[in-house]
Amino acid sequence: MTSRRRDGHPAHAGEALRFRYDGRDYEGRAGDTLAAALLANGVRVVTRSAGLDRPRGVYAAWTEEPNALVQIEKPFPEPMLQATTVELYDGLVATGLRGRGRLADRPDPARYDACHAHCDVLVVGAGPAGLAAASAAAASGARVILADDRPAAGGSLPDTGETVDGVPGARWAAGVLAELAERPEARVLTCTSVFGHYDDNYLVAVERRGEAAASRERIWRIRARRVVLATGAHERPIAFAGNDLPGVMLAGAARAYANRYGVLAGRRAVVFTANDSAYEAARDLAAAGIEIAAVIDARTTVPARLEPGAFPGHVFAGPVLPGHVVTGVGAGPDGSVASVTVSAFSGSGLSGSGLSGEREIEADLLLVSGGWNPVVHLFSQSGGALRFDDGLGAFLPGVSVQPVEAVGAARGVFTLAGCLEDGAAAGARAAEAAGFPAPQRPVPTVIPATVAAGRTAATPPVTPPATPSATPSATLSATPPATPPMALWLVPADDYGTHFVDLQREVTVADVMRATGSGLRSVEHVKRYTTAGTAHDQGKLSGVLTSAIVAHATGVEIGDLGTTTFRAPYVPVSFAALAGRDRGALHDPVRVTSLHSWHVAHGALFENVGQWKRPWYYPRPGEDMDTAVLRECAAVRDGAGAMDASTLGKIDVQGPDAGEFLDRLYTNMMSTLKVGAVRYGVMCRADGMVFDDGTVMRLADDRFLATTTTGNAAAVLDWMEEWLQTEWPSLRVSLTSVTEHWATVALAGPRSREVLAGLAPGLAVDAASFPFMTWRDAEVAGLAARVCRISFSGELAYEINVTAWDGLALWEAVMGTGAVTPYGTETMHVLRAEKGYPIIGQDTDGTVTPADLGMDWIVSKKKADFVGRRSFSRPDTSRPDRKHLVGLLPDDPGLRLPEGAQIVAVSPLPEPPVRALGHVTSSYRSAALGRTFALALVAGGRDRIGERLYVPLGPPGDDPVPVTVTGPVLYDPEGARRDG
């Protein structure tokens, strides 16, 4: 295939890059996008559409591309990228994408990162307006960040070839960047797309740093005092029959390929427009060597500048046809444009009756310009209102609610001189508002585009091809008094079946009219009904068009109808970039106790409890989990076991009012606790539901140590702080988390007393000297320790606390006795469940009161009030059919019920609906009981003890398994084992 590159264009000086597309090898140039390289190689059909299997070509030149979707295969698989934004690199392998992409089948080796920044002025977009704004703002000394999504600054300047301050636009832009680089408070971010604009000028951007960089992509989170949005404008398509075929392209995109990339998108073009800008595109393309077969202008008045001889040397081969529209596209063998049908156009309305004088023009390119939509996405995201401008036929930024201003094309200023002036003024204004008066500076000047076009330093003037016909040709004058644009949204027709609105979603005008015909009036509803605007480009090209067609079809003004909501992200952002470094081991902090190394060395398997790694069980060679847990349970019940209990939350509660404070939060009395004693307590929310439980030690008259469940430690401290600060600020209490200050070894089992006695010869361990629910300071294994006699297994048990530094030494000393079996959380769970002790958060779920747990005894009758008390007498909390914590014994003693299984009263199951009485909350095999058992929350459960209930487990049609309801305490109900 012959090259479509312009001879001598500076873009071709770049390094040659090899790439592979759809199985064929091609060559591109450094600086090309994949789309530019494909066009340069004459690839017109890039992929096919997902639903209708229509051919798809390149339609645009940047992020607004709806058509040319590709899957990157190498170097690393990436799905669903726009060919117009993929920077070409050597060895790239890509395929055209039809429908969904494929995620990589292997971990991404690249690194992703994040940066946080603050600035006085953030300028988004480094086109003429943005550069002028950043330059003016930075001259004041303000901290300025300029972010632009392209590799090089200049915005549309490289696309249009316009000149600023007497030099080509791209060179002027590079000069402004060089000036900014000299300013210590200015930062320029290229290849950086600002995709979200949130409250208080918090903006988020993604920087694409390339495959060779230390991080491939980087998320910027920027807080700015003032924001200047110089986000430019998107050219707008027109809906006509066959407007989706390869070869149909935005006029500005074809101009960009010719001027920026030096690539000719075709050989012979028909231009279809309703505004002046397409004439400049046609002029540049003619100069670049594309034959302009005709300019079809829907307006009856063509630009005044089209005077013969006003633009010497550059002529259109074919006629300018005012008052005409494109009514059809003829496809060649590959499905791309081969001819264009045009008709004279009079009148308005939606039927094709105003069309006449049809003629066909041979062409392989159809360049479309329906006008320009200012890129108001970020402005709208920031909360700013939009207004419709009838003159421009576009939505413009209206009143802003944040310190943000749109400039240049983003607010409908479409001349280069206007953009430069607008940007410079806004940049100075923003800096001044941020406290940095900007010096007076001259605004960059513009040399008319017509003089400079095609005459960049490295591009020699191009001689146009000979005119093949005698039709009057047109030239452009140097000083353009603009002819008003016409808001042409669609070409009337009798059949709208191939008038595409959203090219990727394949939504046609017919689809939109079907939606409005069904009675939909809101453009939000039409969007969701048709999916228009939900594709990759998120409606950059289709959004306003959809609004216009809905307005047209329903007879309302588009300005009254409005647009759909603009939401972040403005461009697609990879999850890898958003995750940054927070993945794998860094996804969430991992907390380990000071004994962790021993657990690892002794083969423990770990369970995640919040952020903690807790030993789950310690399998011996050949043991599975069940076997290991049964062995560990038996060791505790028959001898002695030890568990690392260091993760329990510990809160030091100090102050003269500490006892009173705890009385108000726990359901039972804490102020009466004697120094040296320990009490179990339950905390409820104000609604009376159990929130946490644990033990409280009284260390001194004015000092308590409260323990919490492992996963709830931070929440309990927050809860205490909230009440203390907001309701009871007069209480003299202070709270400190000491969870990580202590290592705690739980020593449990009938032989635990003799083990402790051996380790702590100075401690009187007999039951009379060291009774249940007391604590003693003692030397254990030569370490300063605080020993509590408390039990979570029903056995004689102790918890030995030492400073975290001494934790490992204590544990090794306990293990060194040779009489103690290490056990993990699973065994702890089984042992406590055999005793009917609930785990808050497992056997409860925020809808369970102490009474539901059968723990009325923990609720003080003496205290006038505590948090939750009033709720116990609410009608709902005193219903008799509330769910109670009970035990369940399956008829089959070998069957372990799955936790979460539902419980019903009848078997076989009747037709649905079947009332569920509750669910299984904990379920284990018990060594002590020689069978399986479960805890469950069951409606009216305590009144059902002895009843037979059923648990549906198998597939539909299977009978549910029978179980018997019991009290929750299945082991040692009389508590005989507590004292050993």
Partner: protein, 89 residues
């Protein structure tokens, strides 16, 4: 992301804060004296205005202090930020 004026630490990112809902909903002096409906109103009913709303925030990842701000819920602008924390007692 809101920029929240902590009276102790100055303006900080919303991510550092914990939201505490409507301010000035004091714990009743004598809950036992309330009817079930009055108690349910304290527990479950809160205002949800469009416009100015006094609400509680805690600088959870900073100074850990609770304070009260007035926020316009339609524009997210803060007014009436007190230099010292207001308490709802």
């Amino acid at each position: 992301m809101l920029l929240i004026p902590c009276p102790w630490c100055g303006p900080r990112d919303e991510a550092e804060f914990h939201y505490g809902g409507q301010a000035h909903v004091a714990y009743p002096d004598d809950p036992a004296a309330l009817s079930d409906e009055e108690w349910a109103r304290y527990l479950f009913f809160r205002d949800n205005p469009k416009g100015r709303f006094a609400e509680r925030w805690s600088h959870a990842a900073g100074c850990r202090r609770w304070f009260t701000l007035t926020r316009d819920t339609s524009t997210n602008t803060f007014t009436n930020t007190s230099a010292a924390p207001e308490v709802t007692a």
